[in-house]
Every structure is written in structure tokens, then in C-alpha cells.
């Protein structure tokens, strides 16, 4: 059945879908870490049991257990014993911000640009095809998604971008583009759209959305693609500038205490994990 409003549920489904290749604890750990950092899995939420997790991801129970142990060590998951026990997401804003900053630092410029290129290939093509295939109803649902967007917080703005891009992929009528969009959102959403911490970029992302809707309404596939890929390119430019700032504020040889970054960084990251 069609569900145009349930992006959250769909991105969650990707989180618990079978892993490609050999089942590895690191892959499980990475996928769950991304989902927690991106807010797909919420604070206090109970994770599936070890055996459920193993089944849905297609890995051995021992592998799932190992991954959960690593998440516990990182402080992302808490395990309680007893009748109401289980593993629960602990979504600490500072810890999440630190983790995202670490990821930005750990990824090379080449990796970050490659990531945005991959995403632009998927999202740009989806926008191009959507402009040719959108019915009036489709345009209307895009308008409604834009109107519901909460641009007052980074989390709200990022969810709006995710929801909109997913709907664009659905309007392109391609199951593969939809799958890839969801997969990339779960994997990279928190990183790529870090610029939405700033109000200026939240306003710009709204403008990009309105431009894409206009291009689709007037059946201009090339314009829809260009606006989409330009939007993604500006997000990665911000990300690389942020990487420069992070590297300047904290030399990698002598990492300071994680809780005391420079004031400018602390300000910028305020609410970044919402």
C-alpha cells in the first residue's frame, strides 16, 4: 500500500535489512551507529534482541552480540537485565556531536566529495526523471511535504530534506532509486546535511526545494537535476570547510578532552544532533 508520509519507517527498514557480503560485527556496528547518530533510532528506544537482530541482518547471533558490545563501549547503547530488559539507545547530544565531528575528521576530503558525488548521481537522476513523470497529485504531495517542514531546528530541516528526496525518488517511479535513496540517507544523512546546523543553510535548502518543485511542475528535467546537484554540492562544500575548522581547532596528534572544543565549534554544533 502506498505510504507517502512514512519516511521514518522506511529508513528504519533499511537499518534492519540484510547486510551485503560477509556478515561482520563492524558492519553491524557501523550501520547502527549511523542510525543512532542520524536520529533514525531514537533515544530510549529498545533495539531488537540479539537473535532478532541477527535474523533481520542475516548475520550470526555471536556477530550481533559483538556489535552490541561495541555500541555499549561507545556509550550509544545501554543494556538492562530483567523482565523489561534489553538493549536501549542512549542518545546523548554531546556524545553524538563528538561522534559526528570525529567522522568528519576521519573521512578524507576525497571520501567526502566521493560520497556527495554518489548521492548527487542518485538524487539528481531521480529529480530529472521525476520532472518527466510527476502527475498533478505528485506535485501536490511534494508541496505538502515542503509546507510541513520544520526549519527551526537542524533535525527538523534534515528530516524535511530526507522526506522530500525520498518522495522525489518515489515520483521517479524507480524502485531502485528509492532503495538507493533510503540506503544513502541511512548511511550518510547525518554527515552530508551537517550544514543544516546553520539557519542560513536551512533557508537555502527550502529555496532549493521550491526550485525543484517549480522545475517538476513545468516539466524541466535538466533544471530539476541541476538544482538538486547544486544543493548537494553546496552541502559538501560546507562540510569540507567544517573539516578544515575542526582540524584547525584540534590537532590530531594531541586530541584534547572531547568535552572542551573551542567556543566557535561548540556554538556551531549546538543542537546538531537533534
Amino acid at each position: 500500500m502506498p505510504q507517502t508520509t512514512g519516511r521514518g519507517d522506511a529508513t528504519r527498514a533499511v537499518v534492519f535489512s540484510p547486510l551485503d557480503g560477509a556478515g561482520r560485527a563492524e558492519l553491524v556496528e557501523q550501520r547502527l551507529t549511523d542510525a543512532i547518530v542520524a536520529g533514525v533510532l531514537r533515544d530510549g528506544e529498545r533495539l531488537p534482541s540479539e537473535s532478532e537482530l541477527a535474523r533481520s541482518l542475516g548475520v550470526a547471533v555471536v556477530t550481533a552480540r559483538e556489535a552490541l558490545e561495541s555500541l555499549r563501549d561507545k556509550g550509544l547503547v545501554l543494556t538492562r537485565r530483567g523482565r523489561d530488559g534489553g538493549s536501549f539507545v542512549t542518545h546523548d547530544r554531546d556524545a553524538t556531536t563528538r561522534m559526528i565531528d570525529e567522522r568528519v575528521r576521519a573521512q578524507s576530503r576525497i571520501e567526502l566529495r566521493d560520497l556527495s558525488l554518489h548521492y548527487a548521481a542518485i538524487a539528481g537522476m531521480a529529480a530529472e526523471v521525476a520532472a518527466d513523470r510527476a502527475s498533478d497529485d505528485d506535485v501536490q504531495s511534494l508541496v505538502e511535504i515542503d509546507e510541513r517542514a520544520d526549519l527551526t531546528t537542524p533535525g527538523g530541516a534534515r528530516r524535511a530534506v530526507g522526506r522530500f528526496q525520498l518522495e522525489i525518488a518515489a515520483v521517479s517511479q524507480s524502485p531502485r532509486l528509492v532503495h538507493e535513496e533510503l540506503r544513502l540517507q541511512a548511511e550518510t544523512g547525518s554527515l552530508l546535511w551537517l550544514c543544516l546546523r546553520e539557519q542560513d543553510y536551512r533557508d537555502r535548502s527550502r529555496q532549493a526545494r521550491l526550485d525543484v518543485i517549480e522545475a517538476i511542475r513545468s516539466v524541466e528535467p535538466e533544471r530539476a537535476r541541476r538544482v538538486t546537484t547544486d544543493h548537494i554540492a553546496s552541502a559538501v562544500e560546507w562540510l569540507i570547510e567544517e573539516k578544515v575548522r575542526l582540524e584547525a581547532s584540534e590537532p590530531p596528534e594531541a586530541p584534547g578532552p572531547a568535552g572542551s572544543p573551542e567556543a566557535s565549534v561548540a556554538e556551531r554544533t549546538e543542537g546538531g544532533a537533534a
Binding site: M1, Q3, G8
Partner: protein
């Protein structure tokens, strides 16, 4: 307006209707059974209705060669006192959605708490909205269903009534790829470049290799000619389009054949 259409085209349109008619008849049967069950219970509850729905849809979902990949009942909000928001929906073993490697028939997991981040108000969706408004069966799609079948899908829903009130919808999902396998050989027999479109002009399948499933067929006058199909009026008259193509409705499926010169 009366249009002369060759007999072959009319026959093909009928055969397409008769391919889909059994699915319609099946859903109508489910509707009747659910309406009977509701009528005999003073206060119908999800707990007693769910096993009935499962018993109705399971045999068809498990039948080898079945066209359908998901089916069930979706309740009007507040109709069932023990489940304000309720989807009793089953997926076949062929449905790959969130499926473990050896998954068989299984129930779709849903979030029914309106306060949850993952909750979806299904009454805003086309497969609910349109039959609620028209009071009759509706074919939604083709569309990418990323929350239930994970694939390119057509959904058919029909209202279930209880004492004049809408109790919910019964419905089913079909993969477009399976539908195409069945329908394409039929439309090939026309001998013309021929496309099967939904009421929005979206291509379900076409004999023309340049006409992609999912694309909108952009022909002058097509959108206007399809208006009766969108309004759930059973239209059987063929219509001539300005560019020389002919539109032939396929019974009451809301699908139509477009034959190009």
C-alpha cells in the same frame, strides 16, 4: 461521440478487464464476508476480526501463480474499540519486503500509536482517500511502494460498510512486473503500437519499446479523455484523440488501452 474501433481492440480491452476482474471479485467477496462478520457482532473488535481476515486472504496469498503479494483489511480510525488505528495486512512469501531469506506468509508489522514518530495516518493516502470519497473500488498506482511491498505496485481497495458508516477498506497489492507478464501478451495482439495506461495516463505496460512503464503517456487530449475513468464512472465508450490515437476503456478497471496509428 461514437468512434469506430476495430473489434480486436475492444476484445483486447475486454480480456484485460477479465484478467483483473477475478481480483475484483475476490476483494468483493472479502468485503461481503467482513461486512457479515461486523453485522453479527454487537461490538466488532480487532481481536476477533483479525483471524477472520487472515483466513480470508491467506489461501489466495499462498496460491501458486497468484497475482497478489499482499492483502488485508484496514479499519476506519476509531471503528474498532480495541484498536483505534488498525491494519490487518498480510504479505505473501513472494513479497520481498523486509523478508528473512526463507520468509513465508507473514503479517505486516505496523506502528499504530499516533504519538509515535513512525506513525502514518493512512487516511491521507490515495488508496484510502479516493474510495472513501467515491464509495466504490479504486485502483491506485502503479507506484513505488516503499513501505509495504518494496516494489513497483498496484493497490486495489474497496470500502467496507457497517450500518451506513465506513468501517474500513479491504484491499490487495499486485506487483506491476507480474501484471505486465500477464497483460503484455494480450495487448500485443492488437497489431498497433499499444499502451495500457491508468486513469492518470501513467503507462502500466506498452508494446512500444520506447514507452516505459511508469512514464506518463503525453498525447494531446489524453488527460481530458481519461476524466471519466478518474471519476470512477464506468466508461465503455472509445474516444478518438486529436493526434489520431484511440482510447479504449478496459471495463470497470479504470485502466484504458491507447492505440496509436
Amino acid at each position: 461521440m461514437t468512434v469506430t474501433v476495430d473489434v480486436t481492440a475492444q476484445l483486447i480491452a475486454q480480456r484485460i478487464a477479465s484478467t483483473i476482474d477475478p481480483v475484483f471479485a475476490m476483494i468483493d467477496g472479502w468485503r461481503d464476508a467482513v461486512e457479515r462478520a461486523i453485522a453479527t457482532e454487537p461490538e466488532p473488535r480487532a481481536a476477533s476480526l483479525d483471524p477472520l481476515i487472515a483466513a480470508l486472504v491467506a489461501p489466495e496469498l499462498e496460491r501458486p501463480g497468484s497475482l497478489i503479494t499482499g492483502a488485508g483489511f484496514v479499519a476506519s480510525p476509531g471503528f474498532l474499540p480495541d484498536a483505534p488505528w488498525h491494519l490487518a495486512w498480510w504479505l505473501s512469501g513472494a513479497n520481498t519486503f523486509r523478508a528473512a531469506p526463507d520468509a513465508g506468509l507473514r503479517r505486516l508489522a505496523t506502528v499504530n500509536d499516533p504519538d509515535s514518530e513512525q506513525f502514518r495516518d493512512y487516511t491521507t493516502l490515495e488508496w484510502w482517500r479516493v474510495p472513501e470519497r467515491t464509495g466504490t473500488r479504486h485502483l491506485t498506482g502503479p507506484y513505488v511502494d516503499y513501505l509495504c511491498t518494496d516494489d513497483y505496485t498496484v493497490t486495489i481497495t474497496t470500502p467496507v460498510m457497517a450500518a451506513g458508516e465506513l468501517a474500513g477498506m479491504v484491499g490487495t497489492d499486485l506487483y506491476v512486473a507480474r501484471l505486465e507478464r500477464v497483460l503484455l501478451p494480450v495487448i500485443r495482439e492488437s497489431g498497433h503500437p499499444c499502451s495500457l495506461v491508468n486513469a492518470s495516463g501513467r503507462i502500466v505496460t506498452s508494446t512500444d519499446p520506447h514507452r516505459a512503464t511508469g512514464a506518463l503517456l503525453r498525447l494531446d487530449g489524453l488527460v481530458d479523455a481519461l476524466t471519466p475513468l478518474r471519476d470512477a464512472v464506468t466508461a465503455t465508450d472509445a474516444a478518438a484523440l486529436p493526434g489520431g490515437a484511440t482510447l479504449v476503456p478496459c471495463g470497470d478497471t479504470s485502466l484504458a488501452l491507447v492505440l496509436e496509428a
